[in-house]
């Protein structure tokens, strides 16, 4: 039994040693920000995202940091699971002593970290999670969100969809909260804009498990005039291939969420469908001073063009620091108070955290897909400011029981 004892002691000892090192070593000359994202489970999005916040961090620190101190970001992987994200958040708050949390991609992980931040009374700036619930139904005073939510993006797409002659619509979306709420919001918005819409079919493939042939066939049978798609990643590639081969897209317009993001558009290469109405990021054709500067700096630092994730990472970093700068202290209550109404710079332009729901007014690009030189691009795009699509203060009140 001595062996077992030694072993157990060794394990306990090693555990204690590794976890205790660094505890309480709080450098007073930096401001610590804790960052969590799904680096190992969704690298296609999160690696450009990390590049984005690292670029912003570099710029901020080069400009002297904030409150006279340099910023230090401690970044953790959540392995794509909410419990791991909570563990990481705990480590960042309890052990590293960070002043603010930021990050997350998946909605459920964002919600888990958000609930943790509420319990621990620490500010959390959510980056990517799109679920409405993050700032509305399950919001609270400690959480702010950078990206426009599902309802806003669906509304932008529905605005374009309403201009189409199509009356018979079918939908396809992954079978989880993001897909379900995207479809619901799109339907609601389109129904509001048009009274003659008929919904003829809906498909709910499991996330990343689209049985493309059968699903496309089922859509064909319903014979819609237009299709709303919310699948993304590998699912959208399969959908495009099968749909093209089976002539699903002949004479039918597709309105598609996120497909214009380079993360999802680029893999399609010369098979990019023509004329889909999408949200996304036309990185190669945006010509504004702020974006040009961002793009140049990004390409210089990483030798690669930015993805949408890069923008989100960059904007989240800037937003977090802007809140700290406005608050003038690291006290959580001060941060919250200052956060409401804080305006921050992004490559898309300025955005503001609305006091009524802590949602930023960051917008999205809406345009059409096209192929140029064997690559997919977005054309005919416009930038839609989130402020124009978010409900007004009175309507928001009904959505935010926590306010």
């Amino acid at each position: 039994m001595t062996i077992k004892r030694t072993l157990l002691a060794a394990v306990a000892g090693a555990l204690a040693a590794t976890l205790m090192t660094g505890a309480g070593v709080k450098a007073a000359d930096t401001i610590k920000i804790g960052e969590i994202n799904s680096y190992s489970s969704l690298p296609a999005f999160t690696v450009p995202y990390r590049n984005g916040w690292q670029l912003a961090l570099e710029e901020i620190n080069a400009a002297g940091g904030v409150l006279g101190k340099q910023i230090e970001v401690i970044s953790k992987d959540d392995a794509g699971k909410p419990p791991n994200a909570v563990t990481a958040a705990n480590e960042l708050v309890s052990k590293e002593g960070v002043s603010v949390l930021m990050g997350t991609f998946f909605s459920h992980i964002g919600l888990a970290v958000s609930d943790f931040s509420k319990q621990k009374q620490i500010l959390f700036v959510a980056a990517e999670p799109l679920s409405d619930a993050v700032t509305w139904a399950k919001g609270h005073k400690y959480v702010f969100r950078v990206r426009p939510n599902v309802t806003v993006q669906a509304d932008m797409l529905a605005e374009e969809a309403a201009k189409l002659p199509a009356k018979r619509w079918a939908t396809i979306a992954p079978n989880y909260e993001y897909g379900k709420s995207f479809v619901a919001a799109f339907k609601a918005s389109l129904n509001k804009r048009r009274s003659d819409i008929e919904w003829v079919d809906e498909q709910w493939p499991p996330l990343f498990k689209l049985d493309a042939g059968s699903t496309v066939q089922a859509l064909l049978r319903a014979n819609p005039e237009a299709i709303f798609n919310a699948t993304f990643g590998p699912d959208v590639a399969k959908f495009v291939r099968e749909g093209t081969t089976r002539n699903l897209f002949d004479g039918r317009t597709v309105v598609s969420a996120l497909t214009g993001e380079p993360e999802y558009l680029d893999p399609l290469k010369d098979e990019t469908p023509n004329g889909w109405i999408v949200t996304g990021y036309p990185w190669s054709s945006i010509d504004t001073p702020e974006h040009n500067a961002f793009k140049a700096a990004y390409e210089k630092k990483f030798g690669d063009y930015p993805r949408l994730g890069s923008i989100v990472g960059y904007a989240t970093m800037k937003a977090t620091v802007a809140i700290i700068a406005n608050a003038g202290s690291l006290d959580t209550d001060a941060l919250i108070k200052a956060g409401e109404g804080t305006t921050f710079d992004t490559p898309m332009g300025k955005a503001t955290f609305r006091p009524e729901d802590h949602q930023s007014t960051l917008g999205a690009y809406v345009g059409k897909t096209a192929m140029q030189d064997g690559k997919g691009v977005m054309v005919d795009w416009t930038y839609r400011d989130g402020a124009d699509y978010l409900p007004d203060a009175a309507a928001t009140k009904a959505l935010t029981p926590w306010k």
């Binding site: 699971k81 309890s94 919600l111 089976r246």
Partner: protein
């Protein structure tokens, strides 16, 4: 009617892909008894290899040659893996190979990202098969037609291989009786390597032919592996024809399921598997397992209550745990709390699979039901924490009563797969029932009551509950009931012949194990403050298996130690690096090779080797 026919063809095309993967898995299991968890990873590797080769080699020959060459290359990797790793652990308890291949899977998952990058890769379309043909006025892709032919063609080739070649006949003989082949003087090691390589070849080919259909990405393995296992089990483990029939069944089910019940397509397959296993306990074409004993290894040494040394060690650990809050910060306590919870979870799984001989691939069900039990009580009844701790395990208990009743009717891998089916059914209910469970957005705000909300208080609460839980499980193991459970595992024949009702005993063991797991789940919910379908999902079940096997399934202390090592390691590594899969996977493989009996099993072995009287560790039972 036309539509139905086209949809039927779609089902067949999917079935062919599934069949390639599943047949490989089935052949490997049939002969080597390896539950090859890495099969999905090899499928993914096949797709990535094929992508690279077809991008570099032009023309039709380059394309088709690329697909084949990719499968061959991956098969060679598979053969090397068998020779270098698996061959070392054939003597270990059978499920140990599951642990090894799990480690390999983690490594491959990270490697493909390092080699091929994070972005999805859309490969070439098949030369000459890019278009479609007109069937009943519908455009049907010619490549899908090719796939429809490919499945039966591979089935035919396998039939020829197994019936017309000496090697194939040997493989079939080995599937039926491994001992006999060894007795025939066949080089068993080479036969196993060959079979493993063939299985991997089929899996990798299944991945390679996806190139024209879908983008290659780094989560491909997860989407196929469970489905492949389901098909193998529905068809009957080791039966190639069974795998084919099951593939067609699942392919068609998917094709038509999305028409009838679009939202339950995620669980349809598991529902069908559950029904089939209840009606046919060995799948469509499977045969009863030759030995009634579950797949848990050969001659074992009796397990013993702790000797004085062991007792002192436990006391020492308990003492350290008791004073931990004095020197540990709140994060350390947080991690320690999580480790304790998983120690209870692993001990409960061990009661079921180590003592009861019922391997569970779905133990997460009871963990998750416990977690949801408390979350629902909080959400709908706003029940205080003390009430939650007492009442919430009842949901896990109820689940175990219900699912266990069906599961104990089966044995071995089939039982294990039925537990998986029930776990997935429970998962999908939780995932879909938005109004009650919050769907995948989960239930938030399940925090401990103020009296237990500090890290110290919650830690002590967890320590008390888990320590008592683990001690109760130990006590049960050494009680008459524990012996009775073990007797059913050791020899159903003998147990029956001395008046023991196996099913009733195993059912009770199942319920106990599920309830203890549920208690762990309740604590986990309070620790994390929120509950998600992830808590009931396959990775939690796999974690449990890894902990039990890593610690040593033939020891009582093993699972607790395994939980400590695995959970602490993974939390630490994930915190340090995003390449945690690579490192954790490698560590698991090293541990598997170094301690084929598990860490505690190894320690006990070492201790006993020094003891002249074999088999007596510590003191004789008091």
């Amino acid at each position: 009617m036309d539509f139905l026919f086209i949809q039927f063809l779609n089902g067949l095309a999917s079935a062919s892909s599934l069949f390639l993967v599943a047949s490989g898995l089935s052949i490997i299991f049939g002969v080597t008894r390896i539950t090859n968890f890495a099969h999905g990873a090899f499928y993914m590797l096949g797709a990535y290899m094929a992508y690279t080769l077809t991008e570099h080699w032009s023309g039709a020959l380059g394309f088709w040659g690329g697909l084949l060459a990719a499968a061959v290359a991956v098969a060679i990797i598979g053969a090397l893996l068998e020779i270098i790793l698996l061959r070392r652990i054939y003597q270990a308890p059978e499920l140990f190979q599951l642990l090894a291949t799990f480690g390999v899977t983690l490594v491959i998952e990270d490697l493909v990202i390092q080699i091929w990058g994070a972005e999805d890769l859309l490969g070439r379309r098949a030369p000459g098969l890019k278009g479609s043909v007109d069937i009943f006025g519908q455009a049907f892709p010619t490549y899908e037609l090719m796939l429809i032919v490919l499945g039966p063609a591979v089935l035919g080739l396998l039939w020829l291989l197994f019936h017309k070649t000496r090697w194939g006949v040997l493989v079939r003989a080995a599937t039926q009786d491994r001992m006999m082949v060894a007795a025939l003087g066949v080089n068993q090691a080479r036969l196993f390597t060959g079979v493993f390589a063939l299985g991997i070849f089929l899996g990798a080919l299944g991945g390679a032919v996806q190139i024209p259909r879908e983008a290659v990405h780094n989560a491909m393995d997860l989407q196929i592996i469970v489905e492949a296992f389901v098909i193998v089990v529905i068809g009957g483990m080791g039966s190639v024809l069974g795998a084919f029939l099951a593939s067609v069944l699942i392919g068609e089910l998917n094709a038509f399921g999305i028409l009838l019940f679009p939202k339950i397509s995620i669980v349809l397959m598991f529902l069908v598997m559950a029904v089939i296993l209840v009606i046919r306990p060995w799948g469509l074409l499977g045969r009863p397992e030759s030995h009634a004993r579950s797949a848990l290894g050969t001659a074992e040494r009796p397990i013993r209550p702790l000797g004085r040394g062991g007792r002192n060690a436990v006391l020492a650990v308990l003492l350290v745990l008791l004073i931990l809050p004095v020197f540990g910060g709140s994060y350390l306590l947080n991690v320690a709390t999580e480790v304790l919870i998983f120690a209870l979870f692993a001990a409960s799984l061990h009661l079921m699979m180590g003592i009861g001989g019922m391997v569970s691939f779905g133990h997460a069900a009871y963990f998750g039901l416990g977690a949801y039990g408390v979350a629902l009580l909080v959400k709908f009844l706003e029940i205080p924490m003390a009430g939650g701790l007492v009442l919430a395990p009842l949901l896990a208990f109820t689940g175990a009563v219900l699912f266990g009743w069906f599961c104990v009717r089966l044995t071995g891998v089939y039982l294990a797969m039925l537990t998986l089916a029930f776990a997935q059914i429970a998962w999908s209910i939780v995932f879909q029932w938005d109004a009650v469970t919050g769907g995948d957005n989960g239930l938030l705000g399940v925090w401990p009551a103020p009296w237990a909300s500090t890290p110290e208080a919650f830690y002590y609460l967890t320590l008390a509950i888990c320590a008592v839980g683990v001690m109760m499980i130990r006590r049960i193991v050494f009680s008459p009931f524990g012996y009775t459970l073990r007797s059913c595992r050791d020899s159903v024949l003998r147990a029956d012949a001395i008046g023991i009702d196996r099913q009733r005993i195993q059912w009770l063991g199942f319920i106990l194990a599920g309830t203890f797991a549920g208690i762990g789940g309740v604590l986990f919910a309070y620790l994390k403050g929120s509950v998600f379908p992830d808590n009931i999902s396959i990775p939690i079940s796999v974690d449990g298996l890894v902990m039990v096997l890593l610690g040593g399934i033939q020891t009582v202390a093993g699972p607790v130690v395994g939980a400590g090592i695995y959970k602490a390691l993974s939390i630490f590594i994930i915190s340090e690096t995003e390449f945690w899969k690579l490192i954790l996977g490698t560590l698991i493989v090293i541990l598997v090779v170094a301690f084929p009996q598990g860490v505690v099993g190894f320690a006990v072995d070492l201790f006993r080797r020094r003891d002249p009287d074999d088999g007596e560790a510590g003191e004789a039972p008091a």
